[in-house]
């Protein structure tokens, strides 16, 4: 006997992600899901972003790693609430893991929550956690073939930060090719060229992110009118 099913396998996760999202909306909290390969600069970008914006924005961070608490410790030294999730082997964060951190936060006292995903250019793109949008980093040292090799991540992200541009003289990487290939996959992608080491290009990213936080209450009001 054949039984027709037609159900999304990730449905259970998407349901939890939607509940998370509803809670974040209630608090007018902008939530971003930060993804990249290991070592592309997620935590360094976060440290610099916190330094630049913490006088204007109340920021919280969820750190996802397979093991260790070193990233949450780095973020906590910046004086913002940071919670570490150790996935114990899983290569991405999911909605349920995010939900389990909720007792650690007072969302009414935050404007921006950054979820730093496990370093991985594949699976995190499949799993919603309740974020407003996904942000990805690609460092030039990884090579300009990554958009064509890992299209899903580029397709799902709203923003691409091309990091470590200070290394361009030393690596065979064409920023033009990264931009062309990523815009083919995702024509609406906002792209910033930055160096988290020298600080080059970061001011534009800070401004862009602040603008999204500022828009946030308005966006949620629009949604409730729908």
């Amino acid at each position: 006997m054949k039984v027709s099913v037609v159900r999304n396998i990730l449905e259970a996760n998407e349901r939890i992600a939607e509940q998370n999202r509803a809670l974040f909306q209630q608090h007018h909290l902008l939530v971003i899901n930060l993804m990249s390969s290991p070592g592309a600069g997620k935590t360094t970008l976060l440290e610099r972003t916190i330094d630049a914006l913490k006088k204007d924005l109340r920021i919280g961070v969820i750190e996802g790693d397979i093991q260790s608490t070193s990233d949450a410790e780095r973020i906590a030294r910046k004086g913002v609430p940071a919670v570490q999730i150790n996935t114990g082997g899983a290569c991405h964060l999911d909605g349920n893991m995010i939900r389990e951190t909720f007792p650690e936060f007072d969302f009414s006292r935050l404007d921006l929550l950054v979820v730093e995903n496990v370093g991985n250019l594949v699976c995190p793109a499949e799993f919603k956690v309740g974020e407003d949008f996904k942000v990805m980093i690609l460092s030039v040292a990884e090579g300009d073939d990554k958009p064509s090799k890992y299209p899903l991540m580029f397709h799902e992200s709203k923003v691409l930060l091309i990091n470590k541009i200070d290394l361009l003289p030393y690596v065979d990487c064409s920023v033009e090719k990264i931009m062309k290939d990523s815009l083919n996959i995702n024509p609406d992608l906002a792209i910033f060229q930055v160096s988290c080491k020298t600080g080059e290009g970061l001011a534009e990213w800070y401004r862009w992110l602040q603008e999204r936080v500022r828009e946030k209450p308005r966006a949620s009001e629009n949604e409730s009118q729908r």
């Binding site: 037609v6 594949v122 499949e126 083919n184």
Partner: protein, 96 residues
């Protein structure tokens, strides 16, 4: 399965989009191991790979998205919808 009076699972069919983070060979490998010693043992995992398909609202046309270039081949518009190719669904099960 018990609820529906079924005793064994013969097969399960999945739709897997070209742009999903799934490697069919790996899924198949894990499935065969995970069902051992369960009522699902012996079930076949069938997977249909779904190519990427786009729709252009301006041209009112659907087309294949090739090489992950999300552009309408007729008018060159980038405002297109991805209508197929991101699936990860259970479509059908065959039980006894």
């Amino acid at each position: 399965m018990t609820k529906h009076g079924a005793t064994a699972l013969r097969s399960v069919r999945l739709s897997i989009g070209e742009m999903s983070a799934i490697v069919p060979e790996s899924l198949s490998f894990c499935f065969d191991i995970i069902v051992q010693g369960t009522p699902l043992e012996g079930a076949k995992l069938l997977m249909d790979r779904i190519p990427l398909k786009g729709y252009c609202p301006q041209c009112d046309e659907t087309f294949d998205i090739k090489d992950f270039v999300f552009v309408c081949p007729t008018c060159g518009s980038t405002t297109i919808e991805t209508i197929e190719g991101q699936e990860l669904c259970i479509v059908e099960m065959e039980v006894e």
